[in-house]
């Protein structure tokens, strides 16, 4: 067997948690994990959408404890390794230790693209626990290339083995991706990953750009089950990249089976690019705000696009879901004044 050109990392069971309103059941996770493992996917992620410890009023409570889900997923794997997401400020080191006890083998420590230095202790712990350890730079469109390089170097200096460029808002266009990945390729020694959102229908094009620029870890989700309009669709990505002549190491039919026979069956809605999704990509808003914005718009009787555009203008970062309700309330108050 020839060597894989890159690793495809599936995030359906973590990013998809947003789209599922954090309601994954153990059965859903087991079936998906089993299918991914059988298809030859080497890494996939299981956590609350906002990472370990994300179960909260702010982001939504997990229906089933994420540790149970991680344990169930690990239990189904013969070859694949389970990754967990950890966002410092939300999750803490103890959460990671617990996740490792139940079978996690990889950790992706995520910070806003300019704040890598909050993650030093978590990256160090990942290495200490023998995990494949990743630094994950979120909202990477919000910083110029030099800043992305500077922050990636910090992650590398803490011990990260892979650094991700993460397009959390689905804002980037292929040249933005090429620029960032190429700059990293020139300036850091560790491997480079890319994570897309499809809010502007650019996820596949951006993924191709990332691979061509030298990314060796690329994220996708089955049936695009992720926040906002979802991620690069894993099974489609595998097909496209094979056509481009890369060796994905994936069994396409088996991957399609888990996408269509398992994941599609439990999805709460199709992963389309709705008006809100489009505006998120257009104005650079964190994709997991989607369903919260819809709820706030309904509660306060305001247009969800107005909320999203304002959040973009305010330069909201990942995790600021509370700001959505604050902004919606301010719009409603203004509207009331006009009407009076």
């Amino acid at each position: 067997m020839t060597e894989r050109s890159f690793e495809i990392l599936d995030v359906s069971l973590r990013d998809g948690s947003h789209a599922m309103k954090h309601s994954f059941t153990e059965e859903q996770v087991r079936a998906t994990a089993k299918g991914l493992d059988a298809a030859g996917v080497n890494y996939f992620e299981v956590s609350h959408g906002d990472g370990l410890g994300g179960s909260s009023l702010q982001y939504g409570f997990s229906k089933v404890d994420e540790l149970k889900l991680i344990e169930a997923a690990a239990d189904e794997c013969e070859n694949a390794k389970v990754s967990v997401l950890l966002i410092p400020g939300i999750g803490i080191k103890e959460d990671l230790q617990e996740a490792v006890k139940v079978g996690a083998k990889m950790v992706r420590v995520a910070t806003h693209v300019t704040e890598a230095d909050v993650a030093a202790q978590h990256i160090a712990l990942g290495r200490e626990l023998g995990l494949k350890t990743v630094g994950f730079l979120m909202m990477a469109h919000m910083a110029p290339v030099e800043k992305v390089v500077e922050q990636a170097k910090l992650f590398e200096s803490y011990g990260a083995e892979i650094v991700y460029v993460t397009d959390s808002a689905g804002y980037m266009l292929p040249n933005d991706v090429t620029e960032r990945i190429s700059a990293l390729k020139q300036s850091i020694g560790c491997e480079i990953g890319f994570h897309a959102h499809n809010n502007l229908s650019m996820a596949m094009a951006n993924t191709i750009a990332a691979v061509e620029a030298g990314a060796t870890y690329i994220d996708g989700s089955l049936r695009a089950l992720g926040a906002g309009a979802g991620n690069t669709q894993t099974e489609v990505m595998a097909a496209v990249l094979e056509r481009l002549g890369y060796n994905t190491g994936i069994d396409l039919y088996k991957l399609m089976d888990v996408a269509n026979d398992v994941v599609a069956k439990f999805m709460q809605r199709p992963q389309e690019i709705t008006g809100s999704g489009l505006i998120m990509g257009y104005s650079g808003v964190y994709s997991s705000f989607l369903l919260h914005t819809q709820a706030a718009a309904q509660k306060f009787g305001v247009d969800e696009r107005d909320i999203l555009v304002e959040l973009g203008r305010m330069k909201a970062v990942g995790g600021q879901e509370d700001l959505i309700y604050d902004v919606a309330q301010q719009f409603a108050l203004k509207k009331q004044k006009v009407e009076v």
């Binding site: 300019t114 704040e115 202790q121 995790g319 509370d322």
Partner: protein, 292 residues
Amino acid sequence: MRKLKVGIIGSGNIGTDLMYKIERSENLEMSVMVGIDPDSDGLKRAADRGYVAISNGIEGLMEQLDLVDIVFDATSAYAHKNHSDLLTAAGKKVIDLTPAAIGPFTVPPVNLTEHFDEANLNMVTCGGQATIPMVKAVSRVIPVEYAEIVATVASKSAGPGTRANIDEFTRTTSKAIEQVGGAKKGKAIIILNPAEPPIIMRDTVNALVEEEGKEEEIIASVQEMVKEVQKYVPGYRLRGTPQFDGRKVSIFLEVEGAGDYFPPYSGNLDIMTAAAARVADELAKQLTATNA
């Protein structure tokens, strides 16, 4: 009236801002600034204003203990234990602004004088000072099963100490939400936002109460508590009105600082130093009154 003499260990952002607040107190007298870098801005400012500036850390302070009655520690959680042991053994009152949490938590409008007998008082965290009064404002009306706070601060206002101690922030704040705020279970989230111009500190408190209802009482209690905090942080404000959704109560806040050493957006740093100064001021008032 006799004033109590104040020493501050840590000549960084927090310690320097605190110095200006001590100067405004009627019961405290700024005396000594302790740092470890003779070139630090805080030490220079202290010396310029006529205070004793010690640049060899706790060792230097231990040689001149008669200069202080109360010592604030604005260094880091890792350094605090040693400082506290040395100072309390020498009979000094210690007010801890690190998240070390050796001593009991103090949040002025909730339990200002409760732990005055203790040698070491802990000021929780900036996010704790901003939100725990609100948790208490709800829990004194109706039992709170769970309270969660989200503190969003400008990246520029989070120094290297906060960044290295982010887990300690989360853990200490969660504990204090329970112990001081009165929630059965607490959780804390902190978010750094690098937007320019820097954002004013924002805090959200979400609480799950025992049962629906009592909305008017909760709103009144919250508004009353806001006034209490405004006595020492005038820029502490509600954004909109508390929101109710079933058993969930959501309170939105912003905290604008006094602009002493930091620009006003750093309400997170301001509320910490203002709360610590408030505690020391009251402590001084009581100690000088009983000794008079």
